[in-house]
């Protein structure tokens, strides 16, 4: 993925098409020993468990009532009773509901905005030899080498009055040059005959983009949208420096407050926690699950396209 800066000429074989390995073990390969197989299987299981086990504990604890949690002495490994009390408390209005809504809106608006800008730019740069094609491309790629730095960016964003505006969570990181280059190299791979024939039929650039290029690039558009959406959903730092009004906090800010700073959220939920009706631990876990679920649900759908998207970004530049 970072290989984007390499000269594509000198990289040898193109890994664009995956070599077919579906046939199972090739005949010439010696049968593995039982011990070898065992070690291999065991390490795969350990790797997967080290990722899944903590998530399991988080989900199970968020679904447990306070008695189970007290009996377990804290985190719950196996559910005895299942209750959605923490979730109904969190989502019945109040600060967490508000933060979740802010995050959802910022993610949706931000992703749509980023995708629109990126797709247009990628298509605009997809013909080598078009007017000012090189200088514009250089303008984009230079930003991959030189970051402006935190302080000037902060002074600019606050200077143009974005402090405490939802746009401060969108505009400063709205486009990723890497994503534009991935889209561009995919667009460049669309057969030129299609574009030619459309043009002969009288289609202009806009129509070619919307009717031919975009429908043919669904896979890469899905991957890049996921990258942008995850970026918006996960961002914490921009909110932490630009947003002072706690009404406008996104979910990640609240997650940090509740879990890392152990602050009890104010309002009705705080009362339920301090009276012992619900466990503060299960509330913490429930906020974590809220932050986790959209990502965990979406990414597997796009997973099969990852390799393609990343490789194209790597091979063509």
């Amino acid at each position: 993925m970072t290989a984007i800066l390499t000269d594509p000429d000198s990289r040898g074989a193109t890994p664009l098409e995956k070599i077919d390995r579906t046939g199972g073990r090739p005949v010439w390969e010696e049968q593995p020993s039982a011990i070898g197989q065992g070690i291999k299987g065991l390490s795969l299981v350990v790797v997967c468990l080290s990722i899944l086990a903590p998530l399991w504990v988080v989900v199970v604890t968020s679904l447990s009532d306070s008695r189970t949690i007290t009996e377990a002495g804290g985190l719950v490994l196996w559910p005895k009773t299942i209750t959605f009390r923490s979730y109904t408390e969190l989502l019945s209005g109040g600060i967490v509901t508000r933060a979740a809504l802010v995050s959802i809106v910022v993610t949706l608006v931000g992703t749509a905005f980023s995708m629109a800008v990126s797709i247009l730019c990628a298509y605009g740069l997809s013909r080598t030899g078009s007017f000012a094609h090189r200088p514009i491309l250089m303008t984009l790629m230079l930003t991959m080498f030189f970051g402006a730095g935190l302080i000037p960016t902060y002074l600019l964003v606050t200077g143009i009055g974005l402090q405490d505006s939802y746009w401060s969570m969108i505009l400063p990181s709205a486009i990723s040059v890497f994503n534009i280059l991935v889209l561009r190299s995919f667009f460049m791979g669309v057969a030129p005959e299609l574009i030619d024939s459309a043009r002969i039929d009288g289609a202009g650039e806009w129509r070619i983009l919307f009717r031919i290029i975009m429908p043919l690039s669904r896979a890469v558009i899905a991957v890049v949208s996921l990258f942008y959406a995850v970026g918006y959903w996960s961002q914490w730092f921009n909110a932490s420096i630009y947003i002072n009004d706690s009404e406008k906090y996104p979910l990640q800010m609240i997650l940090r407050q509740i879990v890392l700073k152990q602050e009890v959220p104010p309002g009705a939920m705080g009362q339920a926690v301090s009276s012992g009706a619900i466990s503060s631990l299960s509330v913490q876990m429930a906020v974590m699950v809220l932050a986790l679920v959209p990502v965990a649900v979406l990414s597997p759908f796009v997973q099969k396209h990852f390799h393609k998207g990343m490789l194209i970004g790597a091979v063509k530049g």
Binding site: D7, K18, R25, V117, L120, Y123, A174, P192, S234, W236
Partner: protein
Amino acid sequence: MRTRVRVAAGLPRHPGTDGTARQEHAAPAAAPTPKPPAPGITRRQRFRRDRTLLLMTVPAVVLLLIFNYVPLLGNVVAFQEYDVYGAGITGSPFVGFENFQRLFEDYRFWEVIGNTLSITFTQLILFFPIPIALALLLNSVFNDRVRAWVQGIVYLPHFFSWVLVITVFQQMFGGAGLIAQHLRQHGVDGFDLMTNPGLFKFLVTWQAVWKDAGWGVIVFLAALSAVNPDLYEAAAVDGANRWRRMWHITLPALRPVIALLLVLRVGDSLNAGFEQILLQRDAVGPGASEILDTYVWWTGIKTGDFGYAAAAGIFKGVFSVLLVLLANRAAHLLGEQGVYSKK
């Protein structure tokens, strides 16, 4: 209609869709060579022909100019006695290199650099080999379903936010976490990995491995899938066992990728993971956790010494570029490609 007339009249032809460009697309691996402008087309005609394309790039270019290039100029605050309340950039007095002088005389700054590098090199040594090992392991799994499942699982944490990753670690290894809770039941008190300054760099590395080692596999898997399987077969026929095949075929195939990623990582030395470390700065204390980025954040945004912080930021930017160039040169000396080629 207009377009049709233009094509028929043989007037400005669209770039990338004529004969020469078609050859280029037939071989997708080939570099998109810049096509010399078609003969007989003036700049003005090319502009008229491509103005829609140009218009499409405008939003992105404007955003980059505002949020990347304008702040680049804003770095002049490093040469100013920046006045937070009144004057701003235009009105603050210039003080030459005074901020830099203060920076270089500040022992804390050098401590922070040392700290940053120590975290980076811990990560380089302990993190870097893991995706390679994982890729080799995955590559040796012949069952496609198992492969897809394992890949799906190891990619997943890459998409988690740092806040989420750190809260997960907090719940597992913190003072009230799962491990501490079980140790307490067996009479061992006071286990808390999350606030231990001595172990902080290992904790940070571990978090990075948990989050991103799986994702790092993609690049290596791609390189592995490009290896011609006939090589393995021929080697096997010649009597090379699986370890010799790995040593003589697989690892050489990965060499360019490993070199490239090493160059990039070394060039990235002064980035040790800003958001990740900033989130844990309070718990561990700035002594062990301050890196260059958090130092800029603290001195600038938190204490308001913008000139000083911007100077530290410039130091970081300049040194990062130098490090990339140096690392790339080292890669060339070792006969590898690096980030850019020598030509």
